[in-house]
C-alpha cells in the first residue's frame, strides 16, 4: 500500500533512542560489564611481512593473573586449497587469517596471539612475554610497489596472467564497443588519478564482552553492523553452532561499513571458552588505525570521448584498488558505479584487486564508488571546460533516466538523477558570486543500494500499544524511521510505538546494516507485519460486532464499520481490542521475514565552494550543497544527517586524510591528532536539498540514502580547487604541502 496524506511519515519526530543518548544511558559495547569479567588483549605483529616460524606462549601462561592464551591453532582454519567459503561478500579463508595470522603476518598490527587476564595491565604484560620467531620478509605497501615484476608476493598460490602476482582478481562491466566509441568521438580526454586509503573514523573503537558457559552456550555483546554477521563469523571461526550463540547488538558508535566484519569477537569467545570467565576486549584508537578498515587507496585511469555538442560516446575506466593484506577490495563499486549516472553507448570499466602489506580493507560508505567517481567526475569537468559547456548542463545532456541500460547490468526504472541536476542548477548556491581565490565545483554520484534479508515482529501489548522488533543495528536513526512508518500505518501516536533491535535468538535472520538497506528493507517487513496486525484487528472487531471482516475498516487507530450500511457501532480502538484479546482469540501480533527486492540505486549531485589560502596552501570549503534523490524522506532530519555526514567524510578524504608510513613499513600517524579528520572548525554549514522521487518498488517509496552522499564529494572539491586556482590535482589528499608545491611550481609544469 502506498501511504498518502501522511501524518507521521516525513515528520521530524524525536528518535526513540534519543533520551538514552543525550543522558549517557545508552549502552555501547564498551559500557557493559559482567561479574567475574576478565580482560583480553591482542599481541600484534610489528612487521609488515614476516613468516611466523614459532610462537611460544609458556612464559605468558605462567604470569599470575593470566587465564588463557590463544593463537591461530585455536581458530578454525579455512584452508586455501579447499576453495572459497563465502559469508556474504567475505571469504572465510581470509577472515580466519585476518583475525589471527597463521603462517605469515601480513601487516604491522596483524594479530598473532591473544591473552585474557584479570586486569588489562596483566594482559598487556603477558603479551610481551609471548615469544614469536619471525622470518622478516620484504614488503610492499603502495600499489606501484606491489605491482613491480620483482615485488614480494603476499599470497604465493596466486597467479595473474600465469605469473605469481599481487593482483588477486579482475572484474569488468561492458557495454557496446569502446574501440568504435572512441572512433566516433571528436574529443577524448584521458587522465590518471590516485587516492589514499582513508579510515572510516568511527569514534567508538571496536569492543565486545563475551561469556561462554560450560555447556558452550555463548552470549556476545558487541558493537557491529550486524549481530547475525557476528554470530555467523564467530560460529565459523570457533566451531560453536549458531544456535548456541546469542549475539546481542549493543548501541553502535559509528561504523560506516567498518563494522561489517569481526576482529575481536572470535578471539574473545575462544578466550572465554578456555578461561571459563566472561572476557571483555576493547581496542585502542591506535589498534583501530593499525589493524582495522580502512578503504582502499587507488590508482585509476579514465578516458572519456565525446562529440563537440557534449554527447558522450565512449568511456573507459581502469581502477586498481588496494585490498590490503587479503583479497576483497571494493572494485565492484568502482567499476559499477562510476559511469552509472550517464547514458553512454560504449563503456568498458575494469577493476583490479591488489594485495599489499597493509591492513585488510573493510567496507566504507558506498565502497569503491567515491574512488571511481573522483576520477570520472574530474574528467567530466575537464570535458565541460574544453567544450565550453556548463558542467551541470553537460551532465544533464548525458544523464541516465528511466529505461537507460547501465553498463553494470540493470535497466533503470523511474530514477531521480535528472531532478538532482535540475535542482542543483536552480539552487541559489549555483548562481552565488565568488570572491578572489574562491572556486566552485560540481560532481555527481551513484550507489547501487541493497535489499536482502530482513525480519520484523509487530506485537500489540496488553495495554494497546505497540512493540516493533527488527534485526538491524540502528546506525543513523532507523528506529525513528520505523516508528514514523508504523504510526502512520496503525494510525496511532508515534509515542505509543517502541522500536527494539532484537538479538540473534529473538528475531529472525536480518542481514547487515549496510548497503543503505536498513530502512528500505526493514520498513518493507514492518509494513507487511503491520498489515497482518490490522487484518487481525479488523477480524476481531467484526467478530465482536458479528459482521463480515470486509465490512470493517481500520482508521485513526480504531476499527470502524466501512459504512452505515455495515451497522452502527462505536469504534473499537487498539486499546479496546487489546483488552478484549484474551477472550477473542489471543495475543495480537505478526512477524514477517523476507528477502527484499527492489532497492533501486540512488543519485546525488553536489555543489562545493572553496577558498584557497595561497600562503599556507590550505583549502577551505566555504559553502556546500548536497542534492540527492532520496525516494521518500521518512524522517527528514536523519536523511539530512546522512547527507551531511557523507559530505564531511568526503571533505576529509579530499583535503587531509592519509596514512603516513615510516621506513619500516609502519603507520606513523595512528591517532586523531596526526590522522586529521575534519572537525567542526574545518567545515561550513552543509546544506541539503532533498529531491523525492519515490521508489516505485517500495510501499513508502523508500530508497537508501546513506552512501550516495560520500560518492561525489572528492570530485566536487577537486573541481572547485581547479576553478579557484586554474590548476588541477590528480592525487588526493589536496593537503597543504601538496597545494603549496603546486602553487610554487613554475606555471608550465603546474599540477602535472
Amino acid at each position: 500500500m502506498n501511504v498518502v496524506n501522511n501524518k507521521w511519515i516525513g515528520q521530524r519526530t524525536i528518535r526513540p533512542d534519543g533520551v538514552d543518548k543525550v543522558t549517557g544511558r545508552a549502552a555501547f559495547a564498551a559500557d557493559t560489564t559482567m561479574p567475574g569479567m576478565i580482560w583480553g588483549k591482542v599481541l600484534r605483529s610489528p612487521h609488515p611481512h614476516a613468516r611466523i616460524k614459532s610462537i611460544n606462549t609458556a612464559k605468558a601462561e605462567r604470569l599470575p593473573g593470566v587465564k588463557a592464551v590463544v593463537t591461530s591453532r585455536d581458530v578454525v582454519d579455512f584452508t586455501i586449497e579447499k576453495g572459497a567459503v563465502m559469508l556474504g561478500i567475505q571469504d572465510m579463508r581470509w577472515m580466519c587469517r585476518n583475525v589471527m595470522a597463521r603462517d605469515k603476518a601480513l601487516f604491522p598490527g596483524h594479530p598473532v596471539a591473544a591473552v585474557a587476564a584479570t586486569t588489562e595491565a596483566i594482559a598487556a604484560e603477558a603479551c610481551k612475554l609471548i615469544e614469536v620467531d619471525y622470518e622478516v620478509l620484504p614488503w610492499a605497501i603502495e600499489i606501484d610497489d606491489a605491482l613491480k615484476p620483482d615485488a614480494p608476493i603476499l599470497h604465493e598460490f596466486n597467479k595473474f596472467d600465469g605469473k605469481p602476482s599481487n593482483i588477486m582478481g579482475r572484474i569488468e562491466s561492458k557495454k557496446g564497443d569502446i574501440a568504435q566509441g572512441f572512433k566516433d568521438a571528436e574529443i577524448v580526454i584521458e587522465r590518471s588519478f590516485t587516492t589514499r586509503p582513508v579510515h572510516q573514523g568511527y569514534i567508538e573503537p571496536h569492543a565486545c564482552l563475551i561469556s561462554v558457559a560450560a555447556d558452550g552456550k555463548t552470549t556476545i555483546w558487541s558493537s557491529s553492523q550486524g549481530q547475525f554477521m557476528v554470530r555467523a563469523m564467530t560460529s565459523m571461526l570457533t566451531g560453536i553452532p549458531q544456535s548456541d550463540i546469542r549475539a546481542i547488538p549493543a548501541e553502535i558508535g559509528g561504523g560506516f561499513g567498518g563494522k561489517t566484519i569481526v576482529y575481536l569477537e572470535p578471539l574473545a569467545t575462544l578466550l572465554a571458552k578456555k578461561s571459563g570467565r566472561p572476557v571483555k576486549m576493547v581496542m585502542t584508537r591506535e589498534e583501530v588505525m593499525r589493524a582495522t578498515g580502512p578503504t582502499s587507496g587507488s590508482k585509476s585511469t579514465v578516458k572519456i570521448g565525446a562529440r563537440k555538442d557534449g554527447t558522450i560516446v565512449a568511456a573507459h575506466g581502469s581502477f586498481y584498488l588496494q585490498a590490503g593484506a587479503f583479497p576483497g577490495s571494493p572494485i565492484r563499486g568502482a567499476v559499477g558505479c562510476s559511469f552509472a549516472p550517464y547514458d553512454i553507448p560504449h563503456v568498458l570499466s575494469e577493476g583490479f584487486d591488489v594485495c599489499s602489506n597493509r591492513s585488510k580493507v573493510a567496507a566504507y560508505r558506498a565502497p569503491g564508488a567515491p574512488i571511481g567517481a573522483y576520477a570520472v567526475e574530474c574528467v567530466l569537468d575537464e570535458l565541460a571546460e574544453a567544450l565550453k559547456i556548463d558542467p551541470l548542463a553537460l551532465r544533464l545532456k548525458n544523464a541516465a533516466k528511466e529505461g537507460t541500460k547501465a553498463a553494470h547490468g540493470p535497466v533503470f526504472p523511474r530514477i531521480g538523477y535528472i531532478e538532482t541536476l535540475q535542482a542543483a542548477q536552480n539552487h541559489p548556491h549555483y548562481a552565488a558570486p565568488l570572491g578572489k581565490l574562491q572556486g566552485r565545483g560540481v560532481a555527481s554520484g551513484f550507489w547501487f543500494n541493497a535489499g536482502g534479508e530482513s525480519s520484523a515482529q509487530v506485537n500489540i501489548t496488553e495495554d494497546g500499544n505497540v512493540v516493533v522488533t527488527t534485526g538491524h543495528p540502528d546506525i543513523g536513526g532507523s528506529r525513528a524511521g520505523i516508528a514514523n512508518i508504523c504510526a502512520e500505518l496503525l494510525g496511532i501516536d508515534y509515542k505509543r510505538i517502541s522500536v527494539i533491535i532484537g538479538d540473534t535468538q529473538t528475531v529472525g535472520f536480518s542481514n547487515l546494516t549496510g548497503g543503505s538497506r536498513v530502512l528500505f528493507a526493514s520498513s518493507m517487513v514492518v509494513t507487511q507485519a503491520a498489515d497482518k496486525v490490522i487484518t487481525t484487528l479488523r477480524e476481531r472487531a467484526a467478530k465482536i460486532w458479528e459482521i463480515d471482516p470486509e465490512a470493517v475498516k481500520w482508521e485513526n487507530g480504531a476499527a470502524h464499520p466501512v459504512s452505515p450500511n455495515a451497522g452502527q457501532f462505536e469504534p473499537l480502538t487498539l486499546a479496546d481490542l487489546a483488552e478484549k484479546a484474551p477472550s477473542q482469540g489471543g495475543p495480537i501480533g505478526a512477524s514477517v521475514q523476507l528477502n527484499t527486492q527492489g532497492a533501486e540505486g540512488g543519485f546525488g549531485t553536489h555543489i562545493c565552494d572553496v577558498e584557497v589560502d595561497v600562503d599556507l596552501g590550505i583549502v577551505r570549503v566555504i559553502r556546500y550543497t548536497a542534492v540527492q534523490d532520496v525516494g521518500r524522506a521518512v524522517h527528514p532530519s536523519y536523511v539530512e544527517g546522512q547527507l551531511q555526514g557523507g559530505v564531511a567524510q568526503g571533505i576529509g578524504w579530499a583535503l587531509n586524510e592519509e596514512y603516513i608510513y615510516n621506513k619500516d613499513g609502519k603507520v606513523d600517524n595512528p591517532g586523531f591528532l596526526d590522522y586529521r579528520m575534519p572537525v567542526c572548525s574545518d567545515l561550513p554549514m552543509l546544506d541539503c536539498a532533498l529531491v523525492e522521487v519515490p521508489n516505485p518498488k517500495h510501499p513508502q517509496g523508500v530508497k537508501g540514502v546513506g552512501e550516495v552522499p560520500l560518492v561525489p564529494v572528492m570530485a566536487a572539491v577537486a573541481n572547485a580547487v581547479h576553478n579557484a586556482l586554474g590548476k588541477r590535482f590528480y592525487s588526493l589528499p589536496m593537503s597543504p604541502p601538496k597545494v603549496s608545491e603546486v602553487l610554487d611550481a613554475p606555471a608550465q609544469q603546474a599540477a602535472e
Binding site: R12, I14, R15, D17, G18, V19, D20, K21, V22, T23, G24, R25, A26, A27, F28, A30, D31, Y202, I203, E204, P205, E251, I252, G253, G254, V282, T284, R285, I475, G476, G477, H635, S637, Y638, E640, G641, G645, G671, F672, L673, C680, S681, L683
Partner: protein, 129 residues
C-alpha cells in the same frame, strides 16, 4: 606502588575511590564509579567524547589523572538532567536531531554547557572552535 585514595565530588555527590597512580579520570569514571556516559574515542584529547568539567572548566577526562580529582568538583553527562527533566540543551539536541550514533553526544553536550556557562551568546565561530 599502593593505590591512591581520592576524595572528590561527582555531579554534586561526595565520592571516594582508590586508583592506580597512572589511572585516568575517564577510567575511574567508567570503571569503578560506573559512569559510562563519558566515552573513550581516542585517549589523546582529540575527539572530546570523554569531556567532563573540573570545577566548571571543560577537560578531556582521558588526559586527566584520576588522582587529580582530589578536592575538586567533577561534573559529567550523568549530572546534566534534573531527575526526569532534561537540561534545555539535551531537549534541543533531541528536537534538532543533533545526534546520529550518539557516541560523542555526551561530550558535545558537556562541552556546549561549558561554553554557554562562560559565553551565553556565542557566535557560530565560537561554537565551532
Amino acid at each position: 606502588m599502593p593505590k591512591l585514595h581520592v576524595t572528590t565530588s561527582v555531579n554534586g555527590e561526595p565520592v571516594e575511590f582508590l586508583c592506580e597512580p597512572y589511572e585516568t579520570m575517564l577510567d575511574a569514571l567508567r570503571g569503578q564509579l560506573g559512569l559510562t556516559g563519558s566515552k573513550e574515542g581516542c585517549a589523546s584529547g582529540d575527539c572530546g567524547a570523554c569531556s567532563i568539567t573540573l570545577d566548571g572548566r571543560l577537560v578531556c577526562s582521558c588526559l586527566m589523572l584520576a588522582a587529580e580529582a582530589e578536592g575538586h568538583e567533577i561534573r559529567t553527562i550523568e549530572g546534566m538532567a534534573r531527575g526526569e527533566k532534561l537540561h534545555p540543551l539535551q531537549q534541543k539536541f533531541l528536537e534538532h536531531a543533533a545526534l546520529q550514533c550518539g557516541i560523542c553526544t555526551s561530550g558535545m553536550l558537556v562541552a556546549s554547557e561549558a561554553l554557554l556557562a562562560r559565553n551565553s551568546n556565542p557566535t557560530e565561530e565560537e561554537v565551532r572552535f
